[in-house]
Symmetry: C2
Subunit: 200 residues, 2 copies
């Protein structure tokens, strides 16, 4: 019903998560009223981000180039490996300033209802890293959702007998909450108070 | 905290109306996980819309080129002029299929608290159109907010004594509601049942 380019914009915005048709219209009107420079900048960052960002070849975190900033930093301890569902987990743990090891981003959590099984996640790559990098401890820092719990349980089985200490974040996180909603203090304490699941 | 291009995207998204930092992060992750074609299309429609859309030279509705689709359509009756706050009002009235006249988009409503006085709106251009186009009726189709009411009242004074019938939409719209939230039937009836404010 709007002029073509306006309707195209509203339609594309309405496809984004958490934005309904009225929200899309509101954002479109905001952009049309905004300075051309501001609107153009948003368009450009969206167009650019897909080309600029690739998965880290080692840990699958966001990277510009082959390796993410953490994998490229040789002051990080390769013996500790913190397993998270997605890059939000990396950012949440980094914010605590309590961790100096590396990460492994699984790319999600096991969720049979959504068709996500272990094969959809970067689990084989995780197992391969244990020997390659001399890992002595794997910290499971998954969301405390059903899917996160199921994934932690699956990984615990897969990691057993491999000569690495397997830990998970201490409880203290609100049950059912996502990792990146926890404040730094709570998450930092949960990390320091992590408990053993198994010693392989 | 994220890689530069990811953080740039989150920051830009968080500046949009109705999107907080968590919503911006969620949309950024959606775009990073989406097909490159889909993400690129959103970037391009945003970049394109500001160049493609200009205000109609006659009515200030969205236009591609000099005139909007309605002003460019010579089957529309120039004697009837429907005054709306912004292009959402045009779309809402068009959806009723009850109106065959032209529009005039004010560009907002009088709101002293926001620094929007009559001079910020396209009111002089409205007055100039009356004689130029042989207008016999001006329909005030403003939102039924305080600002919309104040604007209708101001326009009623400015239009008095100019030889045009001045009408407004029948009540029936929910008080305090925006025009574009009304369903077609309610708005169509409000249009048909419009009442005279003054015959100049």
């Amino acid at each position: 019903v709007y002029e073509g380019p306006v309707q195209d914009l509203i339609d594309e915005l309405a496809r984004l998560p958490g934005i309904g048709p009225k929200g899309a219209q509101r954002i479109a009107f905001h952009l049309l009223a905004a300075d051309e420079i501001d609107a153009r900048r948003l368009g450009e960052v969206i167009t650019r981000v897909k080309q600029a960002i690739t998965p880290c070849r080692r840990c699958f975190n966001f990277a510009q180039g082959d390796f993410c900033r953490i994998c490229a930093d040789d002051r990080r301890d390769p013996a500790q490996l913190c397993v998270v569902e997605d890059p939000r987990g990396v950012v949440a743990i980094e914010r605590t300033r309590e961790y100096r090891g590396r990460y492994h981003v699984l790319g999600g959590a096991i969720s049979p209802l959504d068709g996500i099984g272990p094969d959809s996640l970067h689990i084989e790559e995780l197992l391969a890293r244990l020997g390659d990098e001399g890992v002595t401890e794997v910290i499971l820092a998954l969301n405390s959702s059903h899917e996160g719990e199921a994934t932690a349980s699956y990984l615990q089985d897969r990691l057993a007998g491999r000569g690495v200490r397997v830990t998970r974040l201490a409880s203290g996180l609100p049950v059912g909450g996502d990792l990146d909603y926890a404040d730094e203090l709570t998450l930092g304490r949960a990390l320091l108070g992590r408990r053993d699941l198994a010693t392989g």
